[in-house]
Amino acid sequence: MASTSASEATTVTERRGIPAASFVEDVQTYLSQSGLDVNSALAFLQERLQQYRVVEMKLLAQQRDLQAKIPDIEKCLDVVATLQAKKGTGEALIADFEVSEGIYSCARIEDYDYVCLWLGANVMLEYSCDEATSLLQKNLENAKASLEILVADLQFLRDQVTITQVTIARVYNWDVHQRRARQSVQGNDS
């Protein structure tokens, strides 16, 4: 998580390709520094908001994928652990497995030293039970670590979205305030 002290502006300018929204201390200064008039400033901020939303969609999709992958890996670990446990007793493991949707068949799994792991891309490799367990464990840890980073990215992104939304509201209000002030001045003059 990007850490910021309460008295300074953001010390992080971007995180993994996501630009940080700069916090506006004072709307007047912001507008004069950037040289934009109110409408252009609002348009720029709105566009930034859109870009953030696009990135958010992408990150959410990645998060969903990872969240589906992790239980899968845990299930595989379960199966390998069960096979290892059964190996010790010398009994065969009898299991029902799905042949096709709705159709199950019974299998007897006897003395075995190896399991095959599906690695994706039409590749399946044979491993000993211990190797399989450590490979699956490693994959699980990587997936969990990636998920953590992703969650932190999403939090950072949502913070930038909030900052931008608040800035838009403040610029708009400042404009309304200016218009009212101008109108009342004109009212006094005429």
Partner: protein, 128 residues
């Protein structure tokens, strides 16, 4: 989704206020996630309850217990103890989630007090 919308005239927003608003947004998101997770955990708990009830009623010696994608033939006692273990794990998890939810709600209430105190009507922190 809750929007921290400001609609005041000349309210100044300091960096600290912005950070409070950000924190509130993050807590709110976490709250929704927690509610979903709690719902899922409760469902799992109910399913395990139903499963152990069914188990008591059945008079078969060998039960098909799902491990991964296959259903292994497991003796009834082992299934009972496995279900007990799963039930314990799920209720512990549920407790942890409920606790986290309480803490998040408390923090959100605090922030609401601070932000409403400063911005009064200019800010909306309610669920729409």
């Amino acid at each position: 989704m809750q929007q921290a919308g400001t609609s005041g005239s000349d309210m100044e927003v300091t960096w600290e206020d912005q950070q409070n608003i950000n924190k509130f947004g993050r807590l709110n998101n976490r709250l929704h996630e927690l509610e979903d997770e709690i719902k899922a955990a409760k469902e799992t708990n109910d399913n395990l309850e139903d499963a152990s009830n069914e188990l008591i009623l059945t008079d078969e010696e060998v039960v098909r217990f799902q491990i991964g994608e296959v259903f292994a033939h497991v003796p009834k006692e082992e299934v009972e103890s496995r279900i007990e273990e799963l039930k314990e794990a799920t209720s512990k998890n549920l407790e942890k989630l409920e606790e986290e939810k309480e803490s998040v709600l408390a923090q959100m209430a605090e922030l609401k007090k601070v932000l409403y105190g400063k911005f009064k009507d200019s800010i909306n922190l309610e669920e729409d």
